[in-house]
Symmetry: C2
Subunit: 143 residues, 2 copies
Amino acid sequence: MKIGELAQLARCTVETVRYYEKAGLLAIPERNAANYRHYGAAHVERLRFIRNCRALDMTHEEIRALLGLMDTPAAQCGEVNQLLDAHIGHVDARIQELTELRAQLMDVRRQCHSEQSVSACGILQGLAQMDAGEKNGRHTHLG
Amino acid sequence: MKIGELAQLARCTVETVRYYEKAGLLAIPERNAANYRHYGAAHVERLRFIRNCRALDMTHEEIRALLGLMDTPAAQCGEVNQLLDAHIGHVDARIQELTELRAQLMDVRRQCHSEQSVSACGILQGLAQMDAGEKNGRHTHLG
DNA sequence: TGCACACCCTGAAGCGACTACAGGGTCAAG
DNA sequence: CTTGACCCTGTAGTCGCTTCAGGGTGTGCA
């Protein structure tokens, strides 16, 4: 099949497919006489795998590692488990971070009691004066 | 004060300070004879405001809007409230998204019961076969 | 047969929010 | 004078796409 059909089957764009090929996530396919890419079932499966991992907010590095393990079927699956557990940890950390962030936002939001002038509004003052605390770098790649 | 001191007071890097100046978030400061930037208390307060907003995952656009309102103190604070509420909505949406994503990850994780070969491991099969569902675009700028 | 449209191709640039690099200048202390 | 810390500008890179520019291919219809 051609790239448009592959992209449709995996619910992404042809640009993304070409990008993954360039990024080394997807194998370089055969070409026809017109230089059009030609894909088979293996590509569909691999692309779906990649898209699913992306939907789960895994980085290309994480996906690359999983693909590597997938290509050594006789290996033990301990590493697969580790990778997944690590990623779940990242997600947990980001949820925690956002939850705390939300609490701070609600604090600030509560400083405005009624429609008034900006100069009297507690929100901007709150944003100017709050202590965001030490943000010791990101604990997860997730935004 | 010089840029290093300002950056320290606002807990960011000098590169970030220069970046904000170039991005128009921070006013262009005076310079001394050596072309070093010279900052005062107003810059400290503004940079702290910006950093706090960033800590709350607001975009530069959102921050720009708030700064605009801050610079019109006689205006009504309704817009400030709207901006904050909208942003809280973004955070909520992202928390929701990550929570769902986490549930999917746990589903997949549960498909591995014991150390075995990769080919028998349910995780990779789960990742290949799962239905991530339609991801109809991002509902929030937060990652 | 020619045209229009859908799809294909490559390479480069852009997005947002920084961050790092390259190469050079200034200042203060020893 | 030397050294190290800090300052400067401009450029490029990070991540994961997405868009743009410019050109080729295939098919259906008038």
